[in-house]
Amino acid sequence: MKSLARKTDLYAIAWRLPMLVWQGLFFIGPLVFMVAMSFFLVKNYRMEPAFQFSNWEKVLGRGFFWDSYFLTLWLAVLATCVTSLVAFPASYFLAFKVKDTVRRWAVFFLIIPFFTSYLVRIFAWQVILAQQGVINAGLSFIGLGPFTMLNTKFGTMIGYLTLCLPLAVILQTFSLAQIDKRLVEAAHNLGCGRFRSVFTVVVPLAKTGLVVAAVFCFILSFGDFVAPYYLGGSKPPTLSIMIIDTSKSGQQWPRAAVIAIMMIVTLLTVAFAAIGYAYRKRR
């Protein structure tokens, strides 16, 4: 084997390089550059390399930024909880109550929307939820409404659900399906009711997968700008909308970079805390 290892060097390196070079140049490069960019200056709509803290002071010194920061955080936490709770009964059903074939087809169909134009789906919701839209027209037949759903937090949540729900159901179903069903039956035979066994046996056993699903919901909704913009009315703006406003209309790329770095730091903190919690040994 030793002589083999020496001979394989060139071959091995050839397979390592494409990913390292490409992601180094076009993934790590841009992100590192963005950190540098946050210290640059903008003069006459042109960015000039510099090492100044003025962008950080301007962005972090404004109450406007922090309002938006906590709004975004709150919306993402809310979306994570809502999506996880809405997804759970369906995942439970797919994991425990159907045949393998049915589960496989369900996952097959859930993967499709995850890879299918999110933008067009949001546009469809815009039409469905409108003041004279399908839902309000339907409700008026039974004498209700009309309800204002567009440009509200409710609209934003519908958007986040559209984005996160398929993935959440897939991840939850996988983690629930891996549970040893005999443990659930054992709890049941020992007199533990269906609902109690869900909370005392099923959820703790599937904890890791459920937390991973929640983390993905958080990441997706924290960074999304389409739902809060087109269904939530964009006012007050979330951080992602702020990045667009700052960089697109104001040409203030350095300030947008500050917002982006604050978002990445937040995401890393939340993700590491959650994954640490998920993998912590139960006593």
């Binding site: 390089l17 992601q23 841009p30 499709i112 299918t116 134009s117 839209g133």
Partner: protein
């Protein structure tokens, strides 16, 4: 026992409602695209193909469609090459820093698109390389490669680890073994990776919006129409986009599931 039946049925209905929610926008887009009303509602208007006629007679739509096809095919090919190399490296080798290698290979989809878009715009502008079609291809390749890697890695899992050493013992070099053993074995997953990454690139709008400049792809065009006003043309264009990406994702999944080894042969 009766409680169980009630529970089972309520869960069944609930799950059906969830699926309706998930597929409602896709179905609505299809229905609205053939509906004469400018602001579709119940009851529906009359059947029409005017939105398709309007959209397809617009040369800008065709330009954008052509660009989208070029971008998604190019990024799919590049991403699949990169994804294959990374997957093969992970399958075959243990080395110092492998964990970091895997993190780098799989991380891009977890970064919010808007942040990656801003970073790429800044980075490429420094080299005067933003605002072109190639800029979008470069960025989409970054985003797509992890998906290609995951799909191909799953297939490599099913390959007998003794298969390659067997070929070497019979005198084949490593490159020959790659060409005549590994590549044929992974071919369905390579095709699946191409389809899946093409779909990801075809639907991506945030990064494309930031770095494409005047070379708008279809999703960027949709985004800009959307910012204006409700325009039923989007339903027609959107339905066409749905058809393309659904077809690609379905083909990818069939290829992945297709040659699953039977349990008893394990």
């Amino acid at each position: 026992m009766r409680d169980d039946t009630v529970l089972r049925w309520s869960l069944r209905v609930y799950t059906a409602v969830i699926f309706v929610f998930i597929f409602a926008p896709i179905a609505a887009s299809l229905v609205f695209s053939f509906n004469s009303d400018r602001f579709p509602s119940i009851p529906l208007g009359t059947f029409t193909t005017q939105w398709y006629a309007k959209a397809f007679s617009n040369p800008e739509v065709w330009d954008a469609a052509l660009r989208s096809v070029i971008v998604s095919v190019s990024s799919a090919v590049l991403a699949t090459i990169i994804g294959f190399s990374a997957a093969y490296t992970d399958y075959r080798y243990e080395f110092f820093g492998k964990k970091a290698f895997l993190v780098l290979a799989l991380l891009p989809p977890t970064i919010p698109l808007i942040i990656f878009a801003l970073a790429t715009l800044g980075w490429l502008s420094m080299f005067q390389a933003s605002g072109m079609m190639i800029s979008v291809i470069i960025a989409h390749t970054v985003l797509c490669a992890p998906f290609a890697m995951a799909v191909i890695r799953l297939r490599l899992n099913q390959m007998d680890p003794n298969l390659e050493p067997a070929a070497w013992n019979l005198g084949a070099s490593e490159w020959v073994t790659m060409k005549s053993v590994v590549l044929p074995f992974t071919r369905p997953s390579i095709a699946a990776a191409l389809c899946l990454t093409a779909a990801v690139s075809f639907d991506e709008f945030a990064v494309a919006w930031f770095v494409s400049g005047l070379n708008k792809t279809v999703p960027v065009m949709i985004l800009e129409i959307l910012t204006g006003n409700i325009d039923p043309q989007i339903n027609a264009i959107g339905t066409a986009v749905f058809m393309v990406s659904i077809t690609l994702v379905v083909i990818a999944q069939v290829l992945i599931m297709g040659r699953r080894p039977k349990p008893e042969s394990a």
